[in-house]
Every structure is written in C-alpha cells, then in structure tokens.
Symmetry: C2
Subunit: 244 residues, 2 copies
DNA sequence: GAGTGGTCTAGACCACCAA
DNA sequence: TGGTGGTCTAGACCACTCA
C-alpha cells in the first residue's frame, strides 16, 4: 500500500513508486531488454495518476536504468545492445575515426581478497575472487592492459571459456549469465609509469607514462560488484569527460 | 509570440520557453546570482501554464544554468558562491581530507592564435589572445601547472593585477568583470612525461608521469571561450569521474 | 501569513510506431 | 487503427522560507 498521509519523514509519491519499480527490476519481474507495462497500466496498478508514474520512470530513465521509446514502450536497459556495449568506455581516438576493438585474454584465475579489495567490494578479507587480465587492442594496436576482479560467489563458474564465448564483453556476460546488471561506475584517474610487465605487454619502454583508470562498478542498491584497473596508452587516444 | 500550431519541424512549447529564458539570460535581464520571476509570473508573461514554464526551468536547472531553492525562488547560477567556485575541478585528494588551495601566477601575456588554438576557440588564425601560466598549490604542495588561453577581445583589460584581485578564481572573474558565464566544459585526459620546464616548476624528475587535462569551456550558445591545459601530479591525488 | 517552489490529479490532445 | 510515450492545461494542495 502506498503512503499518502503526512508521514514524519516526507517522501514524494513518485519516489515511492520509483522504489517499487526498482524492486520489480531487482526481483526479476522485468528482465534486461524487456518492455515494462505502460504508464497507464502501472498507474492503475499503483493507484496513482499517470503523471506520477511518469515522474518515477523519468527519474529511472535519467539514471539509464530504463529506456523510453516513444510509440513503442519503456524498456529495461541492457549492456547487450550494439552501441551501448561500451557505455562505460570513455577512451576515444584523437582522430575521431571508428575503431575495431579486440580482446586478448591473458589469465583468468582464482584469488583471495586482500584488505584493500575486500573493502572496495564490501567483502571479508580472504573472500574468494576471480581475477582476469587481458589486453585490449584498438584497430590492431594494443592500448589497454586490463586487470579485473570480481567476487567469486555471485559469479560462480566464470572462467576463460565463458569469457571467450561472450567475446570479452564482461558487462554483457554479467547480465546474461548471472543476471547482474551494472548501473553505475566510479573512476579514479592518475598518471603512472609503466612497470616492466605492462611495458612488455603494450610494447613500450619501461617508465613510459600511462593513464591509470581505476573503476568500481555498482549494481542495484549501490552494491559494488567489480573492480577494474586499466592502464592505457594515450599517445593517440584520450579520455573524454564532460563537465556540467 | 509563441508557436502553438503544428509547424513543419515540431518543437515542444517548453522548449520554446527555454529558448526565451536563455535569451533573457544572455541579454542580461537577469544577472548571475539574481532571482528570476516566479513560475506563475513567467507563465502569465509567456501565456502558458505554470507546468510548462516549470518544465523549461527544470531543464535549465538540470544544466546548472539556474538553481531552484524551495520557498525562496529560482536563481541564476554563478561561479561566485563558495562551494561552487571549484565546480569544474575534479581533482581530489586520495585521503579525502579538506585542502587549502593557493594560486601562484607565473606569467600573463599577449599572444597570437596559431591554427590549432584558432580552431578550438573558433577564432581566425592570428587573433589576439591572452595567455596565463600559473601554479596551483594544494595544502602547500605545488600540484598543477596550468596554462590558460582566452581570446583578448571579450576579455579586454585582463592582466595579472586583475587576476590577483580575484584571487585567481578565473571563472568568477570572467563573470564579475566581463559578464561571461561558463556553463559547460569538455576535458580530454592523457598521461604525459614531464618536460624540463614543468618538472622544475613542480619539483619533479624529468620524465615523471603527469596527468594532462585539456579543457575547453563554453558559454551560452556552445561558444568556446577558454582553453586550458593542466599538468597534474597524481601521486596522492586523482581525477574523479562518475559514469552513468 | 504571504510567497515561493514541489507534488498530484484528471483529462485532452499530439507524435510516433507497428500491424 | 490502436497503443505507447510526450505535451499541455487548470486547479488543488503541500512543504519550505522569511518577515
């Protein structure tokens, strides 16, 4: 039931609706790519006006959790669609030309969480992890040395075979194989000098400057589910950031 | 007059209102920090409903051009307020502690636009520029070597004295002294090796990795008005980026 | 208490899409 | 042609601020 009364801590109706919609998304009532019920249907389900449902959906659409398509309906966002696959990739070519992206999986192994990773992923120290290292190649040139860590528990059975079946699209795989959708990420950027291992992988001199991108990705409820460190060669690529 | 008819290229009413509001902002009818008329007043001025004005304002507020304050009114955003001054600064301390920021002006001189700068700032090659170099110090440690270029014409009389009068708050100065408000910026990040001049200024070894942040700032109408290159030491600071 | 933004409603109509 | 999201209205009422 929806609380319309004057509660001690006031909460707008559309905000309550938003929570209900989010719960349906978490519960799997509507899966990634699905169309959700029309605004009018939802309004009658929740016993509110269409405008109120609309405002709740607007908010979720603004967070890229739902996608509105005029004339068609409102859909659950997914990392599976072409053009959205690289939603979190901000690295673009300086010349602006289209690029062919390739994946070379280096290792996929089990590990235990040290204190730092445990804290970041909200796990206990020593928790089981899966650790992936790979090389990303842009138009034939290796540009990113990627180090990815996820908790083992929710990603049971994740191995190199499965990664290659998904062509290295990690976010797409998380969704399809494990029902885990990343909705948000935070990145911390610094400049670092290439270590010998990375220099070799990217075919650089030792100490060459690299852009270090540390990313934590979050699923519903702001739960961190992936840690990632990308070391990027930025000779003819750059990281784009829009400030408003 | 407002076009409610079915025009060839359809444009929602609130979008037209948004344009009218923006024109009043550009024209200086409401200056930075001012309160604009209430939604009801604007609705009657433009002969539309309050809801339509509201949607136009919502959009401008979403772009940080206006600021709504419940119970008080809607205000023109400004870079002059405490806490908003550093709106475009994404560099934060790794430890998260508060920092004292200091400015050391190195040079302020005249220059001519080369082809690259001319293109970026939408000027003719050879156009008069003002060029500023400075050192930004965080809690006593020099961290950013800043190189700033603006067209001379709209910033007539900008010199080192005036910069120091404004304590190095460039955006605040642009507004107060020249009526030019930056509403948006694009940044391109790369990792570079410190040149000798920069290494000396920041007290580093030659070739040390630095985060290079190239920024173009835009005023109303997406007009580029400032180019800036910051070279940042990221030993215990990082650039924060939120992905949605 | 007066004025402001914020919420919510009910209903009309428009633009877009697919069958 | 029917269904979906998108716009617009008029009006009621609520929450916040300040004199």
């Amino acid at each position: 039931m929806i609380d319309k009364s004057n509660s001690p801590s006031y909460r707008p109706l559309y905000d309550q609706i938003k929570v209900l919609l989010t719960q349906s998304l978490i519960g799997g009532e509507w899966r990634p790519g699905d169309m959700i019920p029309s605004e009018i249907d939802l309004a009658s389900r929740f016993k509110v006006s269409q405008g109120t449902v609309r405002k709740a959906i607007d908010s979720l659409a603004g967070e890229n959790i739902l996608i509105r398509r005029q004339g068609k309906g409102t859909f659950v966002a997914t990392h599976n669609e072409e053009g959205i696959k690289l939603r979190f990739l901000r690295l673009t070519s300086a010349s602006g030309q289209k690029e062919v992206l390739q994946n070379e999986l280096l290792t996929c192994s089990k590990a235990k969480a040290d204190i730092r990773i445990a804290k970041v992923l909200e796990l206990k120290a020593g928790a089981a992890l899966i650790e992936v290292k790979r090389l990303l190649t842009f138009s034939g040139r290796p540009l990113i040395y990627d180090h990815i860590i996820v908790p083992a528990a929710p990603f049971k059975g994740l191995n190199s075979t499965r990664i290659e079946e998904n062509n290295g699209s990690m976010y797409s795989m998380y969704e399809t194989e494990y029902g885990i959708r990343m909705i948000r990420a935070e990145e911390r950027l610094t400049a670092v000098a290439a270590t010998s291992a990375v220099a070799e992988a990217l075919n650089l001199k030792l100490g060459a400057p690299l852009l270090s991108i540390e990313r934590v990705s979050y699923t519903y409820g702001d739960k961190p589910m992936e840690w990632r460190l990308g070391l990027c060669l930025t000779d003819d690529h750059h990281y784009m950031s829009e400030l408003e």
